[in-house]
Each structure stands twice: as C-alpha cells, then as structure tokens.
C-alpha cells in the first residue's frame, strides 16, 4: 500500500556527479542552438530581403524589366533645323524644353543627329524633324539587389554569398532541433520536413528533369 508523502528509499541518481554532468551536457546544447539560430537569423535578414526581392523580380523577366523603367517617346520639331550640328542640337533641345546639356552630340548619318545624355538619347531626324527619345531609368533598390543577386559585382561578393549560403544551411538544420517535439524528429517535424524535401523531387520527376 503506497504511503502518500513518503520519500522512496531508492538512491537518487542525480546525487551521482557523473549523472548530473551528463544531464547538464544533454540539456545545455539546445539553448545555445536557439541563441545561434536567432542571432544568425537576425544577421541574415538583410541578405534574405535582397535575395528574395531580387529572386521574385528576376523570376519574371519575361513580364517586366526588373532593373529599369523604359522611356520611349516621339516628338516633332519645327523645320528647318540649323545646318550646324551644335546649333541644331541647341535648337532641338530648346524646342523640347530640355535644359540639361548633352554629354555628346553625334552626327550618325546625313539625316540623323544623336543627342546623348546620361539616362536618355534623342535621335533627331534632321530632315523630317521627328525626334525619338529613348532611355531607361534605373529602379533604385531592385537594380542594386539584382546586381548583387546575379553576382555581377566585384568578386568579393562571392565570399559574402558563400557565407550567406552556409548561414542558410545552418538555419535550416538548426531549425530542425530547436524545439524538441514529443516524438523528437519522428513526429510532425519529420512529416513537414519530408513534405518540403519532396517538392523538388516530385517536380523533377514530373517535369522529366534537366
């Protein structure tokens, strides 16, 4: 008959220093893992934003230009234009109400005068007076993000991207062990992780692969 409140006579395992050390060792790694996961996660936020935003942008290249907004306009000038190229350029720009000075005035052919600016070019047909204005204006943040994502910058970025990839691997694997489930890795975590891993496998199988 059990007696409530009576302490068992069995020896307390925790009294053994080796057992206590073993328990401490077993118990202490998870907070460290969580702390590392959290801090590396904080560190990776900026890079994740760059890669995710750019990834979405360049995934849809056929639908839009993720780097530039395009400018394409046609204007009509009064004729005749002055015969001298510089005078013709000055006259055309005055008529188009452009105050910026061109970085180049180039006679491309008998009838074509190109006025080149940093962001746009005016192709002036000196015979018909038709001006085709074309250019592109950079999308400020996305262009930089795409430049980094596609590794078109200096080689040093390769090292940053490599570290980021290693960090992502750490985040993925440490995430598996951060919070112990009742069944450990064999419960819900395993099912969800397998589902995630199955996505590329099923895609490759269904699509026929490379």
């Amino acid at each position: 008959m059990p007696i409530l409140g009576k302490k068992s006579d069995m020896p307390d395992g925790a009294a053994d220093p080796r057992v206590r050390a073993e328990r401490r060792r077993k118990l202490n790694w998870r907070p460290w893992l969580r702390a590392l996961h959290r801090d590396i996660g904080y560190f990776a936020v900026g890079l994740t934003v760059v890669y995710a935003a750019s990834g979405l942008a360049v995934n849809h290249l056929k639908d839009w230009d993720p780097n530039f907004k395009q400018v394409n306009r046609t204007h009509q000038l009064g004729l005749p234009l002055p015969a001298d190229d510089d005078a013709a350029a000055k006259s055309a720009l005055a008529a188009l109400n452009v105050r910026e000075a061109p970085r180049e005035v180039y006679r491309a052919s008998d009838t074509q005068l190109d006025l080149v600016f940093d962001q746009r070019t005016f192709h002036v047909d000196t015979k018909s007076g038709v001006v085709h204005e074309e250019g592109q204006a950079a999308r400020p943040l996305l262009r930089v993000a795409n430049w980094l994502h596609l590794n078109r910058g200096k080689k040093a970025w390769t090292y940053v991207a490599d570290f980021y990839a290693v960090f992502l691997l750490f985040l993925a694997f440490s995430g598996l062990f951060m919070i112990p489930g009742r069944k450990g890795l064999l419960g819900r975590g395993a099912i969800v992780a397998l589902l995630g891993a199955a996505v590329p496998v099923v895609y490759v199988l269904l699509s026929g692969g490379p």
């Binding site: 056929k62 395009q70 746009r120 070019t121 592109q136």
Partner: protein, 235 residues
C-alpha cells in the same frame, strides 16, 4: 431540416466558397488558353521555313516587339564606341561607330527567339555581317569558335561556322530606327538561329578562338548550343 442551423449555414458558406474557387480556376484556365492561342502565334505555327523547320520553334509565343530583358548596360555613346575584332586572326582591328557605318551594310528581316518563350518575327535589323568582319580580320586556320564580348564582361559563344552564316550580324538599327539603349545601343550582335541571349547587347568585341569558352549564361546553367528548334534552353 432547420435552415437557421449554424452548422448548415457554415456548410452552405463552404459550398459557396468551393463553387467560387472552382469557377475562378476555370475562368483562369480558359484565360490562359486564350492567351496561349493568340492569332500571331497560331499564324506562325502554320508557317514553315525554307529549311523545312517550323517558323516558330517549340514552346515559343509570338509578340509584336522586343522586350527589354535586363543586363548591365554599356556606354550608349556612339562617339565613344569601339568594336575590337581580335583573337585567332592575322589582322586584328578596331572600329569606331562611324567606321562601322561606313562598311557594307546588310538589312534583313529576321526572327528572334528568347529563351523565356517569346519570339519576335520579321523584325528588320541593319548592320554589318560578322562574316565580313572575319574576312577583313583574316582568320587563322586555328579559329574554331567566336566569343562575342560585351560591356561589363558579358560574353556569349558560338561555333565559327554558325557565326559566319549570312544572317549573323552586328546590328545598329532595328525597324528603321537606331537601336535603343534597352536593346544594346549603339551596337549589338544578332544571331537569329540561337536563343537570344547569344545575341550580346552593348557589343564591344568579337574574339575568334581556337577553343570553346562558355559565356555568361552558358556558365550559369543555360545550354551551350542554345538551338531553339531543339529547345536547348538549359544545360
């Protein structure tokens, strides 16, 4: 049955949701079918090239004008422009924009096919044949491949026999107008028999090589050969 039963109302709401979702899916699917079966594409699919191949490569859809597909732009200034022809040649040379315009010109209506599945048919390109530039440079017998060099280190590569075809050119005008910045002004390569990434924009050089050198996209998972009729999109 009690029509004010909350469970019944919930089931009814769920049914309405499922009906709306199914309807939306059908409309989207039909819309996609409509988009995919546009007139330009249908007409092109019915045509055959002189070499017996279909005019429209598999998996392509016809659009009316080139789309800007990005890339790091080069200097659009014709005054600063230099084209370097070099490598496995006896007489390497450089050309300015005016010198390029002074060479014998070719104007051809060509079809181009982007790896992202759009095609533009019959656009009029004007420029200088690569074969003419190669002849002027006097190719060595060791020349086997051609590397198109562009701004910021972009390159694309093709076999010499493909680069010397009469339709391959360095172009500076499109449909009667000067090439615009988004499409590689002032000069780009045009290689209509390959996916369009081979047609390097902001072209700065043509290098003849005794060995193949996969270019920018070719080293990033895209096909080295890039034949649209074989759908060689990826390596």
């Amino acid at each position: 049955m009690n029509r004010f039963n909350p469970e019944f109302e919930e089931a009814l709401a769920r049914r309405r949701f499922i009906q709306a979702a199914a309807g939306g899916t059908v409309i989207m699917a039909l819309g996609s079918f409509y988009v995919l079966s546009d007139d330009l594409t249908r007409e092109a699919k019915a045509q055959t090239r002189s070499d017996g191949r279909p005019r429209l490569p598999p998996g392509q859809r016809v659009i009316e004008a080139l789309k800007p597909m990005g890339g790091e732009p080069g200097d659009p200034s014709p005054g600063n422009y230099r084209l370097r022809v070099h490598g496995e040649v006896e007489a390497p040379f450089e050309l300015g924009f005016a010198e390029l315009l002074a060479l014998p010109q070719t104007e051809q209506a060509l079809d181009v096919h982007c790896v992202t599945t759009w095609s533009v048919l019959g656009a009029k390109w004007q420029g200088v044949r690569v074969a003419d530039l190669a002849e002027r440079a006097k190719l060595k017998k060791s020349a086997r491949y051609v590397i198109f060099e562009a701004a910021h280190g972009y390159t694309s590569n093709v076999a010499l026999r493909d680069a010397l075809k009469p339709t391959v050119m360095v172009a500076h005008r499109l449909n009667g107008s000067p090439l615009v910045r988004a499409h590689g002004a002032p000069v780009r390569a045009v290689l209509p028999e390959f996916y369009f990434w081979k047609s390097a924009k902001w072209l700065t050089g043509i290098r003849f090589s005794d060995h193949d050198e996969p270019g920018y996209w070719e080293t990033r998972g895209y096909s080295n050969h890039a034949d649209p009729w074989k759908e060689e999109r990826y390596a």
